[in-house]
């Protein structure tokens, strides 16, 4: 079975600073995808960034980047130049690709950006 662990239930960061959210996962598979989703109070899950396990290069999307350590099964999200609109719950998710398209989500990290 796949498990996803987010060990930081809550975090806060000053506006314009950098914050890193951690995520670890457990799997025996070699090919998979990893995602970070953002869920603001509106409940809408919004894709932040995606990483294919076969790619060694870390994914980046503007102010968002990941540190993907496949051997350590670690997938952290770095948010640079934090903005008030980044305040939300952040979920790490694992997608296995060889049998179905089921997502496994972590329990989330609540991020608050302080003005």
């Amino acid at each position: 079975a796949q498990t996803v662990t987010q060990s930081q239930p809550e975090m806060s960061v000053q506006e314009a600073e950098t914050v890193t959210l951690s995520c670890t996962y457990d799997t025996s598979e070699s090919n998979y995808y990893l995602f970070w989703y953002k869920q603001p109070p509106s409940r809408q899950m919004i894709l932040v960034i995606r990483q294919e396990a076969y790619k060694q290069q870390n994914a980046t999307e503007n102010r968002f980047s990941v540190n993907f350590q496949k051997a350590a099964k670690s997938f952290s999200l770095k948010i640079s130049d934090s903005q008030l609109g980044d305040t939300a719950m952040y979920f790490c998710a694992f997608l296995r690709t060889n049998t179905g398209n089921q997502f496994y989500f972590g329990t989330g990290t609540s991020l608050t950006v302080i003005p």
Binding site: R43, Q44, G100, N101, Q102, F103, G108
Partner: protein, 119 residues
Amino acid sequence: GAGVSQTPSNKVTEKGKYVELRCDPISGHTALYWYRQSLGQGPEFLIYFQGTGAADDSGLPNDRFFAVRPEGSVSTLKIQRTERGDSAVYLCASSLTLGSGGQSRDTQYFGPGTRLTVL
């Protein structure tokens, strides 16, 4: 284009009643997923459709839960004899299984969810 839509946005019902939750996926997405999100938790997988058929229903908690997607587009999640423990946000997502149009294959795009409250 339009995203995933879900109706109703909120549903309050009494214990023992029957409810239907609707999901309208992104046009052209062949895969559709239902998740349940309890307070303070991440979404938990319920069922996955590829076209009209349920490819994986291993997440449905019991036989009171059932979902259909008769024409391969809109899906309905049906809950019979609701219980207070069924109270949660029910999320729907859709994805392409073949990448095209700039959308990443297998990336799931979520709707805003339906908040179900069973009194």
